[in-house]
């Protein structure tokens, strides 16, 4: 589960939860395509690590650490907003 934090920032691991990141080798001469993960119901959630405040501590959380549990992942515009 979450470990006490070292300095870091949030980043997608580049793969879905529970699987190794897909690192496709760049193809010579191929047009540069922006990497875009499509979110799809019924598909694996993109894995990530992110710093967090939890129970009075700063910790580093990885989504795949929660495999085996139901997870609600909520995004919101900002702290101290009203709704």
């Amino acid at each position: 589960m979450p470990e006490e934090i070292k300095a870091g920032c949030a980043r997608p691991t580049g793969g879905p939860v529970g699987e190794a990141p897909k690192t496709a080798p760049p193809v010579e001469g191929a047009p540069v395509k922006e990497e875009k993960v499509m979110i799809k119901v019924g598909g694996k959630a993109p894995d990530f690590t992110a710093p967090a405040y939890l129970g009075g501590k700063f910790v580093q959380v990885k989504l795949s650490d929660y495999l085996g549990k139901w997870v609600v992942l909520c995004f919101y515009p900002g702290d101290f907003t009203f709704v």
Binding site: P2, I5, C9, A10, R11, P12, P16, V17, G18, V37, M38, I39, K40, V41, G42, G43, K44, A45, P46, D47, F48, A50, P51, A52, Y53, L54, G55, F58, V59, V61, L63, S64, Y66, L67, G68, K69, W70, V71, V72, L73, C74, F75, Y76, P77, G78, D79, F80, T81, V83
Partner: protein, 132 residues
Amino acid sequence: MSVDSVFVHKMWNDHELSKMVSGGVPFAMLSDGGGRVGSVYGIYDLDAGVEMRGRFIIDPDGVIQGYEVLTPPVGRNVGETFRQIQAFQLIRNSKGTEATPSGWKPGKMTLKPGPDLVGKVWEVWKTSMAFD
């Protein structure tokens, strides 16, 4: 998760949220400065530099079972999120042999999809059940 730092999360929890919820927020308040995770989930607004009200239900296998995204001024209905999780848990426990019709809540009738139900849903499910 928001683009705020963990330090701002701490101040918000300690000075406001802990006055609403005894003991403060019991789950991880995640920080996504730069919106890199939010971009992958498709809810980061690059122009505003903030994340929309996205909510993803992820099952124990890491599969996204549902999501909802709202613009900032409208808050979520947490009760509806719980209802959906309870429905997904029921489906999972039944190994897909049951389905929850519109308006289902815990304790209400489920459907057993199969040849015998084709064309017969009207006999077992009434439109009023979507609202009661």
